[in-house]
Symmetry: C2
Subunit: 342 residues, 2 copies
DNA sequence: AGGCACAATGTTAACGTACTCATTTTGGGT
DNA sequence: ACCCAAAATGAGTACGTTAACATTGTGCCT
């Protein structure tokens, strides 16, 4: 019944033409008012705004961007939504996008299927986005061969470098350097490492940084222990470490495990930091544990997200060359580290 | 230099017409192949796919949705991106949207300016979305008078009910009922409350739930203490509570403060749970503290996000009536509660 | 009064897609 | 060989918007 049209936009939506009819002006004038362009008399503007209000006009995104060729939106492909660091990164992405009047169009990728950059790009390519940020915590099989969609500026949130895409990440290697410098400067040489799960990219970069920092000082690295990021797994590692009389310091790959290590050491009668120093990564305990004492390293995750978006948008300009951006960590010195030389 | 056109879509993008030309078919046939429609010969299909590959064809979102009138996207307006619970909610939103082939278009709202639903709606109205979810942790000034954009199904993530919009939230009132039932069942009557900041909506609903649960049992509620969600503020409250010899239980409005309370009580020589029982909310300490002992209550935040999207999508159908959905909490029983009657 | 600059408004066309309908091709069955 | 149904393909059109251009209206200076 009624004026059903053929190719229909958002059933029941109000178009500029309808507003124009009610306001008694041309559709172009409505467009001018909607976009705040000059050369519209005050009287006309008011009449149009009134008609818009009355009809509930909502500018049609499709029509608009079909004309302009821009979407004013950044795509974000997420593989493990619930993962430490994602919220800060998302905040940064939203914030940087918002600064330039962009929205963020997000899709959760299936992380049960094998990770694939090609697949992620394929899914995002049909979305209203001007640039693309892909966040994956693991390295995909097709990482090296990946070729970004032509015409779609693509940034990868990862520690691995890529020949054709800018990559952005917190410096998961450099954080170890900062912490080892801190410990070595206090005379520590027997520094043990408690890593995350073997498949974790972050953990392996932190481990590599630890190894290299020690070897640069002529120290042999002991076999690392491995947890699963949880405080309880850190406790187990700490219990094992407590039997290792030579260790003077422990570097746990995150704060939760570091806290577990501290508890286990204390439960075993070893004092922290007097007997053993402990450091972690992330500064995730602040505000969540009373009187946090853990010396750790903090990443500016918001900056990570911001940088990704900034680069992705820069990449839409011709002549852009891919680069690798690593957000540096900040040492957060508390009281879990003592001088090993007394 | 060259064939610059006038109203240009995504500069340099490849259209179906161009693919059609290369493949030697009509644009309509390309459309059929792109959408996997039947009645295309295998030979033709291959030829078209080849041309698409060669030119790097990417379906134009604007053209497509201009025709179809659908965006396949859900809008998400966020006021305090970095806030406990948002990551789980975002995960739920992405997940539910993904299930029906939708993306999520997110915008961070300026939380320095006064919160306004009208403003949020205005900003989202021009985006490519079929439905809208607005998340605000505070109550906006225009909450009651708010009228959603006609034709744009809108769901509010809040504990407050609204006459014209479906509202979804974790049951911030009910969680208190669950915890008080648990404590009262173990003989506790002198149950103190440590709330969050005065402006916090969640905290005030939790407080109301506490008050009502006590009064339903004929117990007078003592003056509540107030922290700022941090463990250290919980510690301060706990130190004060330690001097209150009559209290047998403490209900802190989140786990971090609860942990602070526990520490302070123990530091003051009172045993938990033998002398004083302590409960919290959120189950946020799991995995982050070794051997967590805190009895608490957990919210399914993913379900919260999912419900919001599901309702928003349902709201696009005619005849939908707004409702209020409260995601129930789950009691997580650990060892910070003892029987008060010995 | 005449004219001229400029503001205000309208007209037309095009963006890329998918729907409807028309036309051509294909493949049997006689 | 012929015909007809069904498959394959093409032509035309409309979706809502904005840009370029065309036209009309207004006010000011000489």
């Amino acid at each position: 019944m009624g004026d059903e049209k053929d190719g229909r936009a958002a059933a029941g939506a109000v178009s500029m033409a309808q507003v124009a009819q009610v306001a008694g002006v041309s559709q172009q004038t409505v467009s001018r008012v909607a976009n705040g362009l000059p050369n519209v008399s005050e009287r006309t503007r008011e009449r149009v705004l009134l008609a818009m209000e009355e009809l509930g006009f909502r500018p049609n995104f499709a029509g608009r961007s079909l004309r302009s060729g821009r979407y004013n939106s950044v795509g974000l492909a997420l593989y493990n939504v619930e993962q430490f660091g994602n919220l800060g990164t998302i905040k940064g992405v939203l914030s940087a996008a918002g600064d330039v009047g962009c929205a963020v169009t997000t899709v959760e990728m299936d992380d049960r299927a094998p990770l694939s950059l090609a697949e992620a790009t394929r899914r995002m390519a049909g979305l209203p986005i001007d640039a693309l940020v892909i966040s994956m915590s693991l390295r995909s099989d097709d990482f090296e061969d990946f070729v970004p969609q032509p015409g779609l500026s693509t940034v990868l949130l990862t520690m691995y470098e890529h020949p054709r895409c800018t990559t952005v990440d917190s410096d998961q290697y450099g954080c170890s350097a900062v912490l080892m410098e801190h410990l070595a400067g206090r005379g520590h040489r027997e520094i043990r490492f408690v890593g995350g799960p073997a498949y974790s990219v972050d953990s392996s970069f932190r481990e590599a940084g630890w190894r290299d920092a020690l070897s640069a000082r002529g120290i042999d690295a002991a076999e690392p222990l491995r947890g699963d990021w949880t405080a309880d797994s850190g406790y187990e590692a700490g219990a094992a470490l407590a039997r290792d009389a030579t260790a003077t310091a422990v570097y746990a790959a995150n704060d939760q495990m570091a806290l577990g290590v501290v508890e286990a050491l204390r439960d075993a009668g070893r004092r922290v930091p007097e007997d053993v120093s402990v450091v972690g990564v992330d500064d995730s305990l602040r505000d969540t544990v009373p009187h946090v004492c853990l010396t750790t390293v903090r990443f500016d995750l918001v900056a990570r997200g911001r940088a990704a978006v900034e680069q992705a948008l820069l990449g839409t300009a011709p002549g852009y060359r891919p680069r690798a951006i690593r957000i540096p960590p900040t040492l957060v010195e508390r009281s879990s580290v003592a001088d090993a030389r007394r």
